[in-house]
Symmetry: C2
């Protein structure tokens, strides 16, 4: 999966991770609440300002190179650091030499670009932060002198409003559906104040005193900054509607916007006999796309932050849709940040653990071990940090400063929470696998043993035979009687339960109306997955129709942070005690993308990078369905109705599996990309 | 000693240490070698970009406040972080409330200034980096809205050259003595290149191809940037001479400079019967002053970096001269930097240890425990880091990535070096004392016990009865036979030796011509101090006359990094294989300032902040001497000739002590500031 910086093209290089960490620092303060900055409430890590790069070359003859840096630089040869040059053109002597370049930049990431006929910046280079840490330099697709890392911006394209009408004397623009970008005023004239009220809903835009996002500018000053007669607002916002109030004397020809986005490819499709589900699927894709940006965000209006638990789900949805690994990698790097580790990711204990599970999934879906290798040390030190927090029973507990989240729900998370132990066990399994692949046998065994011990202990201490599920937490050495769904769900997902236990968890916990219901789409994501894994596709389909379909019925064009059918009208839009505080375009709302791909079309990797995979399609009450899914570099296509299944794939070694009347049908999928068809 | 930010003046506040750490980052890249950047070769720590401040107030009535921030800010009351304001004027409601202000700044340090009639930024405020770390906010003397921390600059004042002559057709300016600052061209005219060759020596300025510092600019472009007809160069440099080459057609009226300096008070004086020593003393003061800048530098031409071992000596000299605590505190904070601790200060193991000894001295000389308290946690975590590096015998060893320096000398520093153990023991004693003052009895006892064990072990394993001193190092459990002066010197200074051992170290090691001689002024500083402590004042006086006097005889106007009388002419100026690589204004060259104050005038604190002190004057072969020294807030004056001693002091409880014919005379110094006079 790694882009190959071969010898033919020079590319900008930097200290690995620093591009992503700097970008994350910038993006984490983009959120505004009523035009007032609202920064992320965790430590924002920063790039190293003082770094150096080195590379050893062997040239048959001297060669002139051109050197560009983001920052001030100096170079020297063969360790002679008292003899430096900062000329932008330099002649490398022939023979074998080591070139070192110091770069300092305290604003943007120190980066280096060298081009010569035979010698240039690329994969042979190492970077160093003066901590005894010569490591492979970071790079991406910045392959020309002017394509500087600090200038990285997402793509933009113009969009026009779908409708404009006048409300109370002010134009209300409707862009037809939720979008994100920069408003533009064409031919702005006159002087006076302009106030813009944004709304994800019409009600929000029409509430100048309560809408979450607003903008204010002075028309005269703005017109001066126009390009080609167009004044573009500086900050991008999430909205569908805008209501524009201007002082008398201010005018413009029209208002449009620059839609800002990551240019992903929509690699997946899903179509079935139920048009409502098709609509849900497509809206899920769009919801996910809007939240796939510099990083996976929780929501594009609020918080516009990178949350590990939210990203964990977005990663999974992405593998079943765009399969864009750039956003994934940037997000994983930004979440890990730098040392010292003092607080958990986003201040949440569980969110540090989701990172390991996400890394595990990354490897499983992509097979890209080079990325894991580059960040293995950061994973290992994070695990060290976490393991120090185990109590005397060896169970992971939150410290007073930690937020143990699990879910928005009415239960206490003090003591050792079973869900946390299961996430830690999975994290240890991931580390064991990574260590093994790194050739670190001892560490692999050690992590593996810790995982086994923890799983055994967790099942022994939390499993309640009478209640038929995992109890919620254990305080001061005593397991408390609270029964919740969460631990059971994760234990099923990670395959930690016996068939009997699985069956019991589904019947006695997940489907038990006396166990507290899950109300957040965040945990419903996992609940739906678990129900699918138990073959409850019919139920899941009905749930999707009512829950996601319910939002559409209320006019949603993207899926929300939370949805409670019991609420009336505009009450849907409040959250956290804030009018219009609810995000109406929230990544975790896009769960159907994952569910349809993984559990209906049924495509799942069996080994890293889909080298082997299985297709287990389930109609779950549909008359027919068909769709396409990415298999890393290739694709799988699945078609199914009540009579037959057709599958073809252009990558890996796949097997079609179908259960009928207690029998399992299995057939190999042709490696030549031709269709496999079976009658059922 | 702490400046009191009382309730009457608003002041800028920030996360503690970040002002100093950001300033250090900027200054650490000011060094240039032949106009090419040469950054410090250690990790440069960075300020937190995302911080928040809080304060609880209780106002009888509402109050309007004005808010200024370096960076973007938002404030909220009583934890209601969804309701924020970024108005620059805000009305605080009456009653008891908590105000929180978020500030983000990724270029300069996030800082906050609030002024109201009764409420303002000051000592009541706390700062937080989102790491569960509400700590007292940092502040200094930035007490007005426009006096922003990011704009901090040292003072400047114009200086004119002492002489100008033409050499090879180009003007050579002599500023009379070593100086530091910005060259200025008055009424620059014409167009063409101007090249400036700087020299700490005339030979250096006259060597365009080899001088360490140079500047180049285009006259036309420069003239445009002139203010009031004066073009001032952007970067300050160290020099006495400048040789200016300009293309034909470029002209100017005259060249002067802006001398840049910390406005210290010369609080000490020393005068004696030997004019050469008086000259040495005054030149020492000037050398120290030039190196007392944003931080204590090693040298003003090279490296212009903050080195812990160098600063340790500058701190001591400062206590006996300017008693400027701002430069001291800034230097201590910058050296400690931030976590994670991966490398030692300046990459040198001993340099981490000198920091503790420096902190101990700081408290002893100033009595300012508030500063120690603020940085106690950073000291404790540094000690944790260091203690992890002990070998199985409990001795501190360098890791492969560590530089174990001790001194520029021909001995190996592998294994456990005795000097390192002694510095660690002293560091542990310092931590024990700090912990005790913090009320951390358990930690105090633990550090104290570690110190005692280490001292006992060090004396047992390194003391050689036959050689009468401490051996140098121990490799794989075997003490090696090398005898060096260093461990003995520090053991004497820290009072770790019995009277018999002291006497033996002086006779068998320090004064033994067969033990490798110390050649660096860096370690001669300690050697001279130890000789004085052994009553060898005559010898030290002769050494000062020949070593420091030798530099003056060669035309020095400030003291050098190194001096070898055996060298001829311009050979003095080379170092590290670099022509003119030697620094001719090096802080550690100013040692006589400390020696005359502490060991001739003989003023020493006995308890923190000179609450009690002793004056033990020694003529050491002089006919007479007199001088003045700071005692923290007060001063001591001492006059002595062969017949009598006169002392007076305006602070603390002092005792005059004088040994004569094996008898010790002691007399209390009047607390009313009047003179005490004794016949001797």
């Amino acid at each position: 999966m790694e882009r190959n910086n071969g010898s033919q093209t020079a590319t900008w290089i930097w200290y690995p991770g620093d591009f992503e960490i700097r970008l994350h620092e910038k993006m984490s303060v983009k959120r505004k609440a009523r035009d007032v900055m609202y920064p992320a409430f965790w430590r924002l890590d920063r790039h190293y300002s003082n770094v150096r790069f080195r590379c050893t070359y062997d040239l048959p003859q001297e060669e002139q190179i051109r050197i560009l840096a983001e920052g001030t630089f100096s170079l020297y040869l063969d360790g002679k650091d008292n003899y430096r040059s900062d000329d932008s053109v330099y002649t490398l002597p022939a023979g074998r030499h080591e070139i070192t370049v110091s770069v300092f930049n305290d604003v943007e990431v120190p980066a280096l670009y060298i081009e010569g006929t035979n010698f240039r910046t690329g994969t042979c280079w190492e970077a160093n932060s003066y901590q005894n840490d010569w490591v492979a330099a970071g790079s991406w697709t910045f392959d020309s002198p002017q394509d500087r890392p600090s200038r990285f911006r997402l793509a933009v394209t113009p969009q026009e409003p779908a409708a404009v009408e006048i409300r109370d004397g002010h134009p209300l623009l409707d862009f037809g559906r939720e979008t994100f970008g920069y408003l533009r005023f064409h031919n702005l004239q006159g002087s006076g104040k302009v106030r813009i009220y944004y709304g994800e809903s019409e009600a929000e835009a029409l509430s100048p005193d309560k809408c979450y996002n607003l903008d204010r500018f002075e028309a005269g000053a703005a017109a001066v900054r126009a390009n080609d007669g167009i004044f573009t607002l500086e900050d991008a916002k999430a909205f569908r509607y805008v209501w524009i109030h201007a002082d008398p004397g201010v005018s413009w020809d029209r208002v449009s916007m620059l839609y800002e986005y990551v240019p992903v490819t929509y690699r997946s499709t899903f179509e079935c006999s139920d048009p409502k589900l098709n609509e849900i699927y497509d809206m899920g894709l769009y919801t996910l796309h809007l939240n796939s940006r510099e990083f996976y965000l929780d929501g594009i209006k609020r918080d516009r932050w990178v949350w590990s638990g939210d990203a964990y789900q977005a990663f999974l949805m992405n593998y079943y849709s765009f399969f864009d690994l750039d956003v994934t990698r940037r997000t994983l790097i930004a979440l890990r940040g730098k040392d010292p580790l003092t607080m958990h990711f986003n201040t949440i204990l569980d969110y540090s653990l989701y990172w390991f599970v996400s890394l595990y999934d990354y490897y499983l879906y992509t097979g890209d071990f080079a990325f894991i290798r580059q960040y293995y040390d950061r994973a290992a030190t994070l695990m060290d940090f976490i393991l120090k927090q185990r109590n005397e029973e060896g169970m992971l507990e939150g410290r007073p400063q930690d937020w143990v989240f699990v879910d928005w729900a009415d239960f206490k998370n003090n003591g050792a929470v079973s869900t946390i132990q299961i996430l830690l066990a999975r994290s240890l399994e991931a580390m064991s696998m990574f260590a093994g692949q790194m050739g670190e046998e001892e560490e692999a065994a050690s992590y593996g043993m810790l995982a086994e011990e923890l799983k055994e202990k967790t099942m022994r201490l939390f499993w309640d035979d009478e209640k038929g599920g995992l109890l919620h937490h254990r305080v001061d050495g005593v397991t408390q009687p609270t029964l919740t769904k969460h631990a059971g769900m994760f234990a099923m997902t990670f395959d930690y339960l016996t068939p009997e236990q699985r069956e019991s968890v589904v019947r006695n916990v997940i489907l038990n109306p006396d166990v507290p219901q899950i109300r957040t789409p965040y945990m419903r994501f996992h609940e739906m997955a678990v129900l699918c894994e138990s073959g409850q596709h019919d139920l899941v389909r009905e749930e999707m129709r009512s829950y996601w379909g319910g939002m559409i019925a209320l006019g949603a064009t993207t899926f929300w942070e939370e949805y409670d059918p019991a609420l009336a009208d505009d009450a849907h839009y409040d959250m956290y005690g804030v009018p219009f505080g609810k995000s109406l375009c929230h990544a975790w709302g896009a769960g159907p993308v994952y569910l349809f791909g993984k559990y209906y079309l049924g495509v799942k990797p069996l080994s890293p990078g889909y080298e082997t995979f299985v297709v287990e399609p389930r109609l779950g009450g549909l008359e027919w369905m068909k769709g396409k899914l990415p298999l890393g570099p290739g694709d799988a296509e699945v078609e199914m109705d009540e009579r037959r299944i057709r599958v073809r794939a252009t990558h890996g070694k796949g097997v079609l599996r179908y259960e009928k009347d207690g029998q399992t049908l299995e057939a190999s999928i042709p490696v030549d990309g031709s269709w496999l068809e079976i009658e059922i």
